[in-house]
């Protein structure tokens, strides 16, 4: 086996070649996957919207409103839903960084009167088997048809009305906070959303 000598030129050329080839192949794969990646993300969003909103006939992804909020750095995504040009509800992405392992993002669907239609967890890094149970039907069912103006979304330990998940109080607390944030945004912008279509 004739190994290349360790001359400066040899080292330079071989590393240069390797980086050029890997650079080009990465660019190529990126081009190939950029479409499907965006599609997968969008599909997740649409599926979530269908789950949390009442029946609608507009395209909430197109009608999305990015609203500035005082509580979080990024703007809040609000997806209004209309049927026969009537406002039937809105899905709002609520988030908090107080999860057991950081960011939790939930999509909360509200009816026009402010009661919760349904909730879907979009993003979380909670402990598998403990915090991840917030995705379970048993936990989510507590929130359905409830209006956060009368139903306190805090856990019972903090004076609220939500039964915390066993062994995952911090997650339950953060979940309630994300829902509360979404509700606050809904109340703040309800009138705007109702007017938009007309």
């Amino acid at each position: 086996m004739s190994k290349k000598k360790d001359t400066f030129i040899n080292m330079l050329v071989s590393l240069l070649m390797i980086t050029i080839i890997s650079g080009f192949s990465l660019g190529y794969v990126n081009d190939l996957t950029i479409g499907p990646k965006a599609k997968a993300k969008l599909e997740r969003k649409i599926n979530a919207l269908k789950l949390v909103l009442p029946a609608f006939d507009n395209n909430p992804v197109v009608d999305v409103q990015l609203l500035k909020s005082g509580t979080v750095k990024d703007s809040v995504e609000v997806f209004p839903a209309y049927k026969n040009s009537e406002f039937v509800g809105a899905a709002i992405i609520g988030s908090t960084e107080k999860g057991f392992s950081g960011m939790i993002k939930v999509m909360v669907g509200f009816k026009p009167d402010g009661s919760i239609q349904n909730i879907v967890v979009l993003e979380q890094k909670e402990t598998p088997g403990l915090g991840t149970k917030m995705k379970d039907e048993k936990f989510l069912a507590q929130f359905r048809e409830k209006n956060p103006s009368v139903f306190n979304v805090k856990v019972t330990k903090d004076g609220g009305e939500v039964d915390a998940l066993t062994g995952a109080t911090i997650t339950s607390r953060a979940f309630g906070e994300a829902v509360q944030m979404a509700y606050d945004e809904f109340e703040k912008n309800k009138d705007l959303l109702m007017e938009l279509k007309n």
Binding site: M1, T7, I18, S22, G35, A40
Partner: protein
């Protein structure tokens, strides 16, 4: 290479005699980090197997073109490229698995198993031996991670591959899906594995 390698032996060594996890104790970070369920372990194992296979092939192909002083940076670039490709492909086509494995995909780059095989084997052997070495070692890694994931899932969640076999609100050993449980389960599995494999050897 003058000496002839027994290819069957070459392939099998990674699974039992030199199992990367239970015998060589390589790549402990993903081993402990992602194995909270059997499916996660399997997914991580397969992703690592792919990167290991591709890097072994490429390293073996270019071994005579790379001056030995810069061989490590060269290997790292090759491995990192393949990891990035795996990450992009997973995100585009298997978003579910991508979400589960999260931060551990980029960390395949620093899995010492892959660099170790590139340095110790692929840079000294021909392409066929390198492929078999990667397949054997990778399969050993897959088996070990799946076994560890399955053990932790059975004990910690009372399920296997998401199929629950205990009542919904039964108490399980939650400890085993938390990080300390990973160490405990790995230690016992290592003892068990070595006990069995030394007896048969």
């Amino acid at each position: 290479m003058a000496e002839k390698i027994n290819q069957t032996q070459n392939f099998l060594k990674g699974i039992v005699k030199d199992n990367p996890v239970f015998v060589m104790l390589l790549g402990m970070c993903p081993t402990l980090g992602v194995t909270s369920s059997a499916f996660n372990g399997l997914g991580m194992g397969v992703a690592t197997l792919f990167v290991l296979l591709m890097s072994n092939i490429v390293v073996s192909l270019i071994k005579s073109q790379v001056p030995s002083k810069v061989r490590i940076p060269a290997f790292i670039i090759i491995i990192a490229s393949f990891v990035t490709i795996v990450e992009m492909v997973l995100e585009a086509f298997i978003p579910f698995l991508y979400e589960q494995l999260g931060i551990f995909i980029p960390l395949i780059v620093v899995n010492c198993l892959i660099l170790g095989r590139a340095e110790a084997f692929a840079s000294k052997n021909n392409i066929l031996s390198s492929i078999l070495d990667a397949l054997g070692m990778g399969l050993g890694f897959v088996i070990a991670l799946t076994l560890l994931g399955a053990t932790r899932e059975i004990l910690g969640s009372g399920s296997l591959f998401e199929l629950k076999f205990v009542p919904e609100d039964a108490n399980t050993f939650i400890l085993f899906i938390l990080p300390p449980g990973a160490f405990i389960a790995l230690a016992y599995l290592t003892v068990l594995f070595n006990k069995i494999s030394t007896k048969t050897a």
